[in-house]
Symmetry: C5
């Protein structure tokens, strides 16, 4: 599971059936790469979360019919930002 | 789900059964990597979209028989281009 | 789906059951990374193809018993080689 | 399966159903990238482990209902740290 | 399927059920990244092999109960080592 930070919500008027009326968040990795995830836990801007990918993402979304490949699994209580490769 | 931009449609005369008569788009990431996706939402050149991968991509294509591993899930209403690693 | 170029056929005398007597191709990405794929469409050296990965790769191979994670989905009619990050 | 080192346990008060009361570890790759994994083997800080991803991760967690995409598969008895690209 | 070279066998006394008494190999990519794979074909140190990932890896292991995400699919008869990006 990846560790990502919530940036903001995503607005998409045109979507496929199976992703309608789902709360989507833009997440950002430590290296700046952005992804979109379904959010069943109510994460807020700035929260560090871990995400579940693959078929488990659909179960984690609370409904296997939700056509996601990335879902927020939980909010991390404390997370120190640190660039990869700099820790001991 | 990844965030990618539609470049153009892909022309492939010879395809496997299961990908025939399907609308294919070439998508481009912020870093310039290209991928091919099935498009069930009617995205146009220049649109920023998010994509669904894995087995969910087949469901998102509207027909599990479509042999795709990447499908456009929705068109993003507004997206600012930004290189990874430059934002605060 | 990835966009890759066919380099040559792969010779493997010892294989697991489920990949015997299958036509294998070495494919090369724009950045030079090589992968092996099952070829059900008859691609030739130098052809640019797109590939299907994951469980869809087994269906695309025409037989779910073929134990592949990458299968050629189609031959691209025209493809201009371009390094990632250099286009507008 | 990837080779990763256990850093510490992860504290997440708010989680999705399916990941509650599960022991989570932060793992770190040789290049410094961090991931979160379910730990069914009782790995300790500093242990080098190998991880199972995808749907196998749920089986490896001992319960398919555990919504993980990464699970520790075993503790490596001896592992020499070595940067990628430096060995013969 | 990836192309990797066998380095050595992996010793793991503590493993999850489902990976016990399975022959594990450490494999190394051209760029030096290491992974662990199940070996059903009897590859030896220095052999170049191609690997099957995802759910196909479990079938390729000869037993779906083997909780692997990477399995050696075959031994490549001849392979010239070449750094990515240097070939024509």
């Amino acid at each position: 599971m990846e560790i990502l930070q919530v940036e903001y919500s995503l607005v998409c008027t045109r979507r496929v059936a199976g992703l309608q009326a789902i709360s989507l968040r833009v997440l950002r990795s430590v290296t700046g790469v952005r992804q979109v995830a379904v959010d069943p836990v109510g994460a807020r801007e700035g929260n560090w979360v871990y995400t579940v990918c693959g078929s488990a993402a659909r179960y984690a979304a609370g409904d296997y019919e939700v056509l996601t490949d990335l879902t927020i699994g939980g909010i991390i209580d404390h997370w120190e930002i640190e660039e990869p490769g700099t820790s001991g």
